[in-house]
């Protein structure tokens, strides 16, 4: 099959770190700090300079309550309470800034921005879309990192190499993207190699776009068309992560330590149970339990055929075997290749072949061969007819899923005689994984009481083994896992996994420097070197990329609009000097995100009014020069969180396993949205279990990304589906009723005070006369619930001003 690049433009004419005029591309040149007059705020000074070129200026400061509301919505993702509003109306602005930076709602709000960038979700994606049960700790790790103002260089380090510092949850970063499950990958070599390439590619995209702000993934099939990143660079970067796979890893920490201390005690208990069990076995004169590959030996007999009558499996499932071998000395006479013919009571077809031919095909390689599976559970038989009479002395069977726990082996003598017994399973001690109902267990010569005793003993061992396994494994977290001996990495020509064009050592893109790494370095040195490179204070991209993201979520648009692409296909910064100033200041402040926020929040640019201005709008309609604070529709999460905050139902429970938007947590289809929620579902939306490629009911329509692709910039569309959902959904209407209930409780029965209270809670202001009158009429004619329903739907409620 012709492999074609599915990512990028194909034509490429050489690679250079330089723009067309021979200058090095701006984002590859380290930032330099511009001169700022001593008494000036750098942000405002640089913005005003640019505005002045267009004959514009910053707008006057916003009205106080508007500003308080803005700070709350931007920083915490919900409006101020009545009490908060009153408090900060009287206080200094600086107190408000300190307050929001110290509030834990900040981390919950801003973590979502980061999760968008890396398309984090709690399912694998693709056609199974199964749940990643232990993925949520990463989300909590991000929230907590932001709230504790973990320096950004450290934030990067932990996400790339948290395994070296005991921060296992941070490694959820590298595996945030989708990855197909092994069972969903074709059995051909090409499909398997392709799948490995795809999962590593997701890692490179995550790292490249989120941290470097570069679309390194474009170089998978060819040198980057626009940026100085070659195909070799791509594969060198892949080599950094060659030891990585997706999966659950031990989550070190307090719980892990507690579990570990309990291991010896449980192991001791298990040993005792096993000794008791062995004593019991000997006392009852039972043979040893069945093996996974089990051989029954017997006196040689001459047989035309052998059959196995399976009365029960260990787990009640359909009978199944990978292979059945009948031995004549060292020769397996059951093989189809020597002329034997298999048959069985039935075989399951399902989606894949489960035919009895598999019993005698001579292969037990689970990647290339299939087992026999009976069409249904319950008794079954398999039989092998030999090409001619054979003298046989033993039978070996290989278990597949469950195993035959109660069976008879029989042979057909070479003569007129009927089937004769060869061996059976009923003189054996039960296996630990035998979960049959004890009433159905048959053990030759044992009373039901004795059988019960055996089953109980085995069950105790089973339980202790499970406990020991759980404790020894420790708490688990979904993250990158690493092998000490990474596989070799090859440059693949045109990205074709079957077309290897030479081995390559780990490195970063040549135009960004060198990793200073022994090329033979194994895990984790490759990643440590990458982290070191990225967090070098002189790195031209790292600080610029993150300060730009922070800026973007304050003002709606980044200084570099394409916030995950600082390459040539991206848009150059609107204010390059401001970007540089912010980046250098950020590094000088110890990579502190909160200091950066503080700088921005204190600027006049942030505090200015969002009201329009005819002249400025003509020149710069979208306010990219920031002649006003750009008003905009809020994100899905803020809308939902605000509704809950205002209705009084918001549950502030932080962290842990997420709540559900759907009736199921993974799988391809038939997702049914939950329409009503209890307190658990009234937590902030960041605590919702995140399903990939499944738009959330109601709020998916508000451009909440579905984690299919990285989403550094959300669209802010406005659609009739949004309107229908917000007007008619049980969620909205129920919350409107709660809101009305709250208003009655807080404002009493007088309609004017009710409306005033509603406005204060929802809009952080008092109504105008006509608004008050209009809504009093609506409440009088149709109930206060309708007023609340309307408020949740208004532009003012869902817009940031």
């Amino acid at each position: 099959m012709n492999r074609v690049c599915s990512y990028c433009l194909l034509f490429l004419f050489g690679v250079s770190g330089y723009a067309d005029d021979g200058e090095k591309w701006w984002s590859f040149v380290p930032p330099t700090k511009p001169e700022i007059p001593a008494d000036e705020n750098a942000i405002d000074f640089l913005l005003e300079k640019r505005l002045a070129e267009q004959g514009l200026d910053l707008s006057p400061e916003a009205e106080k309550r508007t500003l308080i509301r803005r700070v709350f919505l931007v920083m915490l993702g919900m409006p101020p309470t009545a009490g908060e509003l009153a408090r900060f109306e009287k206080a200094d602005y600086a107190e408000l800034v300190d307050f929001v930076l110290a509030d834990s709602r900040y981390g919950e709000r801003w973590a979502q921005h980061w999760l968008d960038v890396i398309r984090w979700a709690e399912t694998v994606g693709f056609e199974t879309n199964l749940e990643r049960k232990n993925a949520w700790p990463y989300r909590d790790w991000v929230i907590s990192a932001l709230n504790s103002d973990l320096p950004y260089d450290q934030f990067i380090f932990e996400q790339l190499a948290g395994d070296t510092t005991g921060n296992d949850a941070a490694l959820g970063f590298l595996v945030a993207g989708p990855a197909n499950l092994p069972g969903q990958i074709g059995r051909d070599e090409e499909a398997m190699r392709q799948a490995r390439q795809d999962e590593l590619d997701e890692v490179i995209r995550t790292v490249g776009q989120s941290l470097f702000g570069l679309t390194i993934g474009c170089a998978r099939c060819h040198d980057h068309k626009f940026d100085p990143i070659s195909e070799r660079d791509y594969y060198a970067m892949q080599a950094v992560f060659a030891g990585l796979t997706y999966g659950d890893r031990r989550w070190r920490g307090k719980e892990n330590d507690e579990w570990t201390t309990r291991v010896p005690e449980v192991r001791q208990k298990l040993d005792t149970l096993k000794k008791e069990s062995e004593k019991l076995r000997v006392g009852l004169m039972l043979h040893r339990p069945l093996d996974d590959v089990h051989t029954d030996e017997f006196e040689p007999v001459t047989a035309r055929a052998v059959r196995m009558k399976i009365h029960a499996t260990n787990n009640g499932g359909a009978a199944t075997l990978y292979e059945l071998e009948v031995w004549s000395g060292e020769k397996n006479v059951a093989l189809a290749s020597v002329g034997s013919r298999p048959s069985a009571s039935s075989f399951a077809l399902a989606n894949q072949t489960r035919h009895f031919d598999n019993l005698v095909d001579g292969t037990v390689d689970k990647r290339q061969a299939f087992p026999w599976v009976s069409a249904k559970s319950g008794p079954a038989w398999v039989q092998v007819d030999f090409a001619g009479p054979e003298t046989i002395d033993r039978v070996t069977w290989h278990r597949a899923g469950g195993y035959p726990a109660d069976y008879d082996l029989e042979f057909l003598p070479s003569g007129p005689d009927d089937w004769q017994p060869l061996a059976n399973s009923r003189k054996r001690m039960l296996r630990v994984d035998d979960t049959r109902d004890v009433k159905t267990v048959r053990l030759t010569g044992l009373t039901p009481e004795k059988i019960q005793q055996v089953a109980d003993q085995v069950a105790k061992i089973r339980k202790a083994e499970a406990e020991l396994a759980r404790l020894s494994r420790g708490p688990q977290v979904y993250g990158a896992i690493f092998t000490d001996e990474p596989e070799e990495t090859f440059v693949l020509s045109r990205g074709d996994p079957m077309n290897r064009a030479g081995r390559i050592d780990p490195a970063i893109p040549v135009s960004l420097g060198k990793l200073k790494l022994d090329p033979k370095s194994a895990e984790p040195n490759r990643r440590l070197a990458l982290a070191k490179h990225l967090t070098d204070p002189a790195h031209p991209l790292t600080a610029r990329v993150i300060v730009n993201r922070i800026w973007q979520h304050h003002f709606g648009t980044g200084l570099v609009e394409t916030s995950s692409d600082f390459g040539k296909m991206g848009i150059p910064p609107s204010h390059p000097k401001l970007l540089d100033w912010l980046a250098i200041e950020f590094v000088e402040n110890g990579w502190s995100l909160k200091s950066l926020h503080r700088n921005i929040l204190h600027s006049r640019a942030f505090r200015q009014s969002s009201l329009p201005n005819q002249k400025a709008a003509t020149i710069d309609a979208e306010a990219r020069l920031l002649w006003r604070f750009p008003p905009r529709r809020m994100e899905a999460e803020s809308i939902r969180d605000s509704i809950l905050a205002v209705s009084g139902k918001l549950n502030r429970k932080a962290g842990g396993r997420g709540f559900d938007f759907f009736q199921q947590r993974g799988g391809l289809s038939d997702y049914r949205a939950k329409e009503t929620f209890d307190a658990d579902g009234w937590r902030r939306m960041i605590y919702a279990h995140k399903i990939r490629m499944q738009a959330v009911d109601i709020f998916g329509a508000f451009d909440c990304p579905d984690a299919g692709q990285m989403k550094p910039n959300r669209t802010r569309s406005i659609t009739p589906i949004q309107s229908l959902s917000l007007m008619n959904s049980p969620f909205s209407n129920r919350q409107a009723a709660f809101f009305a209930e709250r208003i009655r409780a807080e404002a009493g029965t007088e309609p004017p005070s009710q409306i005033d209270r509603a406005f204060l809670l929802a809009y952080s202001r008092e109504p105008d006369l006509d608004e008050r009158e209009r809504l009093i009429n609506l409440a009088a004619g149709h109930g206060l619930d309708q007023v609340c329903r309307v408020i949740f739907n208004t532009s003012e409620f869902v817009f940031l001003q």
């Binding site: 989606n351 990219r624 659609t719 309307v790």
Partner: protein, 473 residues
């Protein structure tokens, strides 16, 4: 350092900040989507042949060798190994011997096209169909391959064809969603909503899923709220939102919110009108589609076909009509690995008459002159049975799709697989070519319909795609 010339003047904006700033077309084209009405009709690049599209998508991969791709040599070599590929390991494992079609083929229509008895009604329409026998897909796995056919990319998260079309053209009907995805009554297709997602295009362009059995969510006001109350609430909402808009000098986004509530109100009337009273269709129409069948699944799919016709009749731009649901061992989709005959007899009955009825009905109403009907699937199936089964494994190397209606030569076939139907050999068609051709019929140049996202000007056709000119009428 001198600043290189910006590739775009940032004052013109780009995709970053919302609807009002999404520029349509190539990076130089500056026709903007009007945020107050993203569905306003827009000019195509050139005169279109088709105004609307209905895609019938057979989820699970319908076997070409058992339906439209007649291979006499396959019948002759029945029971022999595939020459040169005796030990072929494909998606699920080893393959067995060549197996002749499980249904007989017969010449159909004036053109005499050989079509199997699995789909006789569709066969009867052969004179209106252009068969494309040489499709290929990059992936041999259902989900990714379905993505390729519907979004151009194997990965999730790219805009679907319907989203691109609506992004480019807008809608002719301002009371209905411009892109509707109709699920099979048996369930959701393999890659689910990704088939009609808007990816990185604005949410306004995503497909709205509803069907004859599954209405739009939250279309109706809550039962406990009377019409009068609902109207009073809407009036109050309009009052408040108009005040906000005026305060912000007629801000287009605030205006768009007002407009969105108006369209929502219109949809409350127009959607039930088009989807709600399918039983009111005359008896002969119900019969034509098989909506009168006692087979509930066939009747359900037939009703979806009637719904598709009604939607294009009202100017809905793009309709996806799914036949077949999710992975189920071939039970409720076309994934015939193990019991192909038994399962396809069921699926064929559901598919055949309703799709043929749709073509006939569109034709008799003159709608086939302006509507393009696309029949597609994610890949084909092997000419062999899988070892030890009675079904065929995935085959992305060659399979059949077809086009019918506006701008397409009926009664023709294009491209060919080898003598067994194993591999496309003549005029090989990539999914990108297929998409480029569909966009072309709608009057759009697939290389010009682009949007910037994460470092690249994205297209439905990636960096590939050639219009199949030979099939254009």
């Amino acid at each position: 350092m001198t600043q290189p010339l910006p590739r775009r003047q940032f004052l013109h904006g780009s995709a970053a900040a919302g609807l009002s700033q999404i520029a349509l077309g190539s990076m130089l084209a500056k026709e903007k989507i009007d945020p107050t009405n993203p569905y306003a009709p827009r000019r195509s690049h050139f005169e279109p042949k088709a105004k609307n599209v209905i895609v019938v998508f057979c989820s699970g991969a319908i076997s070409h060798v058992d339906t439209f791709d007649y291979k006499p040599e396959l019948i002759r070599q029945h029971g022999n190994p595939l020459p040169g590929n005796e030990k072929l390991v494909s998606f699920q494992g080893p393959n067995g011997n060549l197996t002749k079609p499980l249904w007989d083929f017969k010449p159909r229509g004036e053109c005499g096209k050989m079509v199997s008895n699995l789909v006789p009604h569709i066969g009867d329409m052969a004179d209106d169909i252009c068969f494309l026998h040489s499709l290929t897909n990059k992936s041999n796995t259902h989900g990714p391959a379905e993505n390729v056919m519907n979004t151009g990319f194997a990965f999730d998260g790219f805009p679907s064809m319907g989203s691109w079309v609506n992004f480019g053209l807008g809608s002719e009907n301002q009371d209905l969603p411009s892109f509707v995805a109709i699920e099979d009554p048996r369930g959701m297709p393999q890659s689910g909503p990704n088939n009609w997602a808007s990816g990185f295009l604005p949410a306004a362009f995503q497909g709205t899923p509803f069907s004859s059995t599954k209405p739009i969510r939250y279309l109706d006001r809550p039962k406990e709220i009377s019409g009068e109350t609902d109207q009073a609430a809407r009036d109050a909402l309009r009052f408040l939102d108009s005040k906000s808009r005026d305060k912000f000098g007629g801000d287009p986004n605030l205006q768009a919110r007002l407009a969105s509530y108006e369209l929502a109100a219109k949809m409350q009337l127009s959607v039930p009108e088009v989807a709600g009273n399918l039983d009111a269709e005359p008896a002969h129409i119900q019969k034509l589609y098989g909506a009168d069948s006692s087979n509930q699944q066939k009747a359900g799919f037939a009703r979806n076909c009637i719904l598709a016709r009604r939607l294009v009749e009202r100017g809905v731009r793009f309709v996806q009509l799914f036949n077949g649901a999710y992975a189920s061992g071939g039970r409720i989709n076309w994934d015939g690995h193990s019991k192909l005959k038994e399962q396809y007899d069921v699926h064929g009955e559901i598919l055949d008459q309703p799709v043929a009825g749709l073509l006939k009905d569109l034709k008799q109403r003159g709608l086939l002159d302006s509507t393009l009907v696309v029949f597609a699937t994610e890949f084909g199936r092997m000419p062999m049975f899988q070892a030890g089964t009675y079904g065929r494994d995935h085959n992305p190397n060659g399979f059949t799709c077809w086009l019918s209606g506006a701008g397409v030569k009926g009664g023709t076939s294009y491209g060919a697989t080898d003598e067994f139907g194993f591999k496309a050999e003549e005029n090989v068609i990539s999914p990108h070519d297929f998409h480029a051709t569909i966009l072309h019929l709608l009057g759009m140049d697939h290389e010009e319909l682009t949007v910037y996202h994460n470092g690249i000007e994205r297209r439905l056709t990636d960096v590939h795609g050639k219009v199949i000119r030979k099939i254009l009428s």
